[in-house]
Amino acid sequence: MSASLLNQIEYSASHLFAALVLLGSFALIYQRRMVGMFNAFAFQATALAAAAAWEAYVQAAPHLYVTAGLTFVLKAVVIPLALRRIVRKLDIHRSIEVVIGIGPTMLAGIALVVLATLLVLPVMPGVAAIAREELALALAVLLIGLLIMITRRNATSLVIGFMSMENGLILGVVGVAGMPLVVEVSIALAVLVAFIIFGLFLIRIRERFDSLDAHYLESFRGERR
């Protein structure tokens, strides 16, 4: 096997995994039911873990395996299971209320991908192609995560959108060679902390208002409309 062919395979595979993460984002957009959203999120996290593992192999950077493992265990297994348990235990309404219809949201998501590509490709012409493309995809994932946060009414969707943004961040981080492990661990922990905080919020909202509509968060903050 020649070196160029090996390079091509490396390039294509990391591209593939990054694209799978992005696919996960789109899968998140078109979910109408809570459980489907958890599944899509688990799928995205799995793809991210695979991407991180592949980068670890390509860059010969063993600490990325740790990232991959953390991502898989936390985001693909623990968090979706925990969320599913909360939903079941609290007997929360299982459907998702959308602010903007799914079709327009998908179109907006595609526009974001175009924007991210247009943005990253010319801005960093000197960087290796592999890092550039991954960065463009990572930025797209991040933006779509934010889009999910603002186009869904449920508090649970807020959590999922937020963690999807984190996924985009990690995808960008693992694509760059030489990123120290500390950062990844801290990011993973931050996500966990955010999960705990959001979970706490959900439980408290449930206790007080018997609903998971984020609308109630506002009155909880003591603000008026």
Partner: protein, 669 residues
Amino acid sequence: MTADLLVAAAALLVLGFAGALWPRPDGAQIVVYGGSAIAAAALAGQALLALLGGGAATPVLTLPLGLPWVQAHFRLDALSLFFVLLLNLAAALVSLYALGYGRHEEAPHRVLPFYPVYLAAMNLVLAAADAFSFLVSWECMSVASWLLVLAQHREAANRHAAFVYLAMAGFGTMALLFAFGLLAGAQGDYSFAGMRTHDLTPVLAGAAIVLALIGAGSKAGLVPLHVWLPLAHPAAPSHVSALMSGVMTKVAIYGLVRIVFDLAGPPQWWWGALIMTVGAVTAVLGILHALLERDIKTLLAYSTIKNVGVIAIGLGLALVFRASGIGDFAALPFIAALFHALNHSLFKSLLFCAAGAVAHATGTRDIERLGGLIHRMPRTAFVALVGCFAIAGLPPLNGFVSEWLMLQSVFTSPSLPQPLLKLIVPVAGVMLVLAAALAAACFVRLYGIVFLGRPRSPDAAAAGETDAVMIWSMAAFAALCLVCGALPAPAIGLIEPAARAMVGAGLPDGGAGWLYLAPVAGKPSSYSGAVVLLAMIGFGLAVALLVHRLGWRSLRRAPPWDCGFPSTDPTTQYSGSSFAQPLRRVFGTVAFRAAETVDMPDPGETRPARFALSLWDPAWRFVFNPCARFVVWAAEHLNALQFMTIRRHLSFMFATLIALLLAVAAVAR
């Protein structure tokens, strides 16, 4: 010298604490003002010696203060040394004055702690050699003076003045911050030495100049950023007013000179044209305001605005010559501007001290309630007369010399290549002449109404002479005015090192000796204050002798000419308002839309006739009131942002992010 200055500044800060903690107010006065006078006198003496020795720049002194990667740099070059001399000379004498004046202070505990801090901060501004320590010292100066303006905070007018001052000071410092940010360049080197080596693009350098003009100009009182000055300067106790008007405006001028002549690199001609235009407008509007003002201290503050305008005209002209490649001509207006700064610090401090003495003796600052004080306060009246002569630009005093030099530089200037400058330079010269003439009228009015005639109120009739300490410190100011006017050449010798450092040239032949001042090479114009003084004394004695020898023979006593109106009431005298009326009608109707309304009762009515005068300041009308309305409007509408849902907050962030990314994508194309 730099280390000495820092030690003196530290000592002044300690004095501030002493002023706050000293148990007895009388002792605190002596400690604070005496200590300040000693520190300032020591610094002035050192600066004088250093300037006489050629004014070589001291090495940079780096202190491990402030931001760790910037540190605090201090350095004194010829320009800083000249301003250190100017500052501390006035500060020493004003502190001496305060030894007497402070005894009458209503609330000494609100003045004593801040006064030495204020002096220290001004000194540190002059010594700073990096943007960080410059701005920190500048802000300390602003805040200390703001606290001093608030010393008599129970009067609503003073609180308003302090509020306007604080807003303008913050705005000005922000502009300076951005100016330094531009000058520091992409590398972010905030030391002055680093800024000198940066090459900025013309657009960025021009933006830095405009920002510096806004920042330093708002502190110096350039139109239209002058509105706080006539409010805040009179609100402070008189000795602080003297420092704010006489000295702090010069510190602002120093900041402008430092940035424009030193840090910004090779100048462009429009910088000078801009500064000159602003200066000309400032000079005329400032003195017109002063002419119409009734409050002594406010009048003096407006006159400060005029003098700052005059200084700005000189600096702008010097910049124009330097940018046009005729640097030899730049020295004269530059020296004239700095000499005028020195002179103004002397006579304006003197006049504010005299105003403080009058206000204390009579309890009022309204000139319409004063009059006849020359009989009740003869010594104060004499030193105030010297100050009025000096500020009105009469020979042989110092105000004449610097304005004469300024006019020499305008009217002997070579023709410039830019057509716009061919228009601006002569017009600025004409405005300068107009401002000088109006200043003479203004101070004839001030002196005539306050000191001559008969008392217009019982307060003025009951006034008495002030303390000996105050008289002596004012006499020292007057003596300095006379020395600088009679022997200007040695004083200008102190400025020459600064001129050589900033514009690269001095006067030809060093101004031709100590007796005569010949500023323009190859032209016959020259001036000797000493000769004029001797001639005036000689002629005066001769006339006095003649009058006494010949005049007394036909002496007869008779009632004075009363214009056929034999009333003895003091209100039949000229008032300040009536004296200013002709000029108000000529200029005020255009500049301030002055309108007089007379409410005349019908025959048979018993109510009195009323005369009302309305003026408005174009700066408030066109700049500040619209700004204030916009801020209030924007605040009301932006308030809605605070009460949005989480999702809307996120949507705003999302939209902002997308907009910024689109902008980046568009730029990167």
